[in-house]
Amino acid sequence: MSEATRGRRRSPRDLVGGTPAETWSLRFDDRELPAQSGQSIAAVLWSAGILAWRTTRETAAPRGAFCGIGSCFDCLVTVNGRPNQRACLVPARPGDHVTTQEGTGRDDLAV
């Protein structure tokens, strides 16, 4: 949701009466993003208005979450140095460092 609309419109959290147990910040590349306990990494990124966090192997096109349930693998991301993690499935944990993934995420192995 954009800054302009936040506060005026109803939010998903209002709808279900959510009071998160805990909030902390998630490190994404060189930014700090607000995270709530129980959110997946993809949910944290979406709440910050970030929709793309990897680029494709062939054309370096930006991609993010598509299916939202772990079957499309479009949301692959590097978490704490481990590439190819599905952001829509992996819960965000305090202390995590999430980085944009380029291509196969295995550039360190490239010859």
Partner: protein
Amino acid sequence: MTTSPSDSPSAAARAFADLAVVGAGPAGLAAAVTAAGLGLRVTLLDAGERPGGQYFRHPAPGLGAARPEALHHGWSAFASREAALRAHVSAGRITYLAYHHVWTVTPDPAGSPGWTLHAVAGPDEAPATVRARTVLLATGAYERQLPFPGWTLPGVVGAGGAQAMLKAGLVLPGSRVVVAGSGPLLLAVAGSLAAAGARVPAVVEAAAYTGYAAHTPALLRNPGKLAEGATYGGALLRHGVRLLTRHAVTEAHGTDRVEAVTVARLDRDWRPLPGTARRIPCDAVAVGHGLVPQLELATGLGCATRPSPDATVALELDAEQRTSVPGIWSAGETGGIGGAQLALTEGEIAAHSIAGRPVPARLARTRTRLRAFAAAMAGAHRPGPGWTGWLREDTDVCRCEEVPAGRIREAVEDLGARDARTVKLLTRAGMGWCQGRMCGPAVAALAGTDPAPDRRPLSCPVPLRHLAALPAEPPH
């Protein structure tokens, strides 16, 4: 077996269960608690962290949702089964293994009639095995996607995906979300996005709802279903959402993310009509064209399939939910897309059958009635052949391997590929991470064939060391 924390119920899980249920969505959950109530020892495995499946997906406890039911239709049907699950688990009648993704089921060697289920457990992908006398596959479905130019732009997301992210993470992909595709799920998705604060400029539905008229008797026998539709319709009206039937999003525009869509009117074969295109500004698109039964485990076991009226492939099941393979039952979307209420009913029917009890007539009647409704709906939303008309040569059809429509057409027209398998070998479409889950129906349509049943050797990524540890093929 390892001693990782995700394996803590391993002793119980290793015991030979009367029934192993794969999937804790509406069908699997209903089956597990009914079977346990009938005296069976049940092991319930589910890939998710919490029971409910995709339909009853709900916020993680950490998000402290006081009213999770606000995002759901028929929440009490879930709440009562979840309570029963807890009771059976504490009484030791059900072993519930969350975060266990079953990737293959193998028959035990001749002479010991039973099955071994192999799963990867937890974020560390620890191997886990479960043995059982009978198996119920309640693996549900995933969303069918038909590509269009711009559908790989960030901000274009699956309609079911948007719903799942909203239900589980309380997030929206944007503030102005066009909902597009085909099928009744679109109305539910638009309703919840709007209730959660998104503006929904339009719901763009490729089918004409008049398609239902041909099935008036099935509709009239399902007043509950009509009321459900009216609820969604009412919610849309309240939020000022426009419903455009026989229209499609034929292009998404933007550079780094979606900024607008082109919407065009369709003829009855889903061919865009020239001169009807118009732009709708938006910052997200939630798109889906119905659901596809998830059958890998079943087809891996050799269960027979049948074509459904919505142009998907479903399992062939008898009146008691038995597959063609003795000892294997299935319930819910695997037998044809039909919704949560049907899945709950079929789960209970399967449980009775597995327990060797007569199926209550009430359940059988409900199944017949809801299946008739599902068939009417499936027929109305079956994709028309003209949808390929909105593809451009450079539109990526396979998202994983970035294979454009032009290369697929070339494989078909110039290289003589006659089926999706040959197209895949020639172009790599469907060979990537998702194993064709996203592009399969589109590739089949471009190859001019009917979609083939799901056949993937593994239903999720499996560490090689687990494969290496599999026993050799049993002798029968």
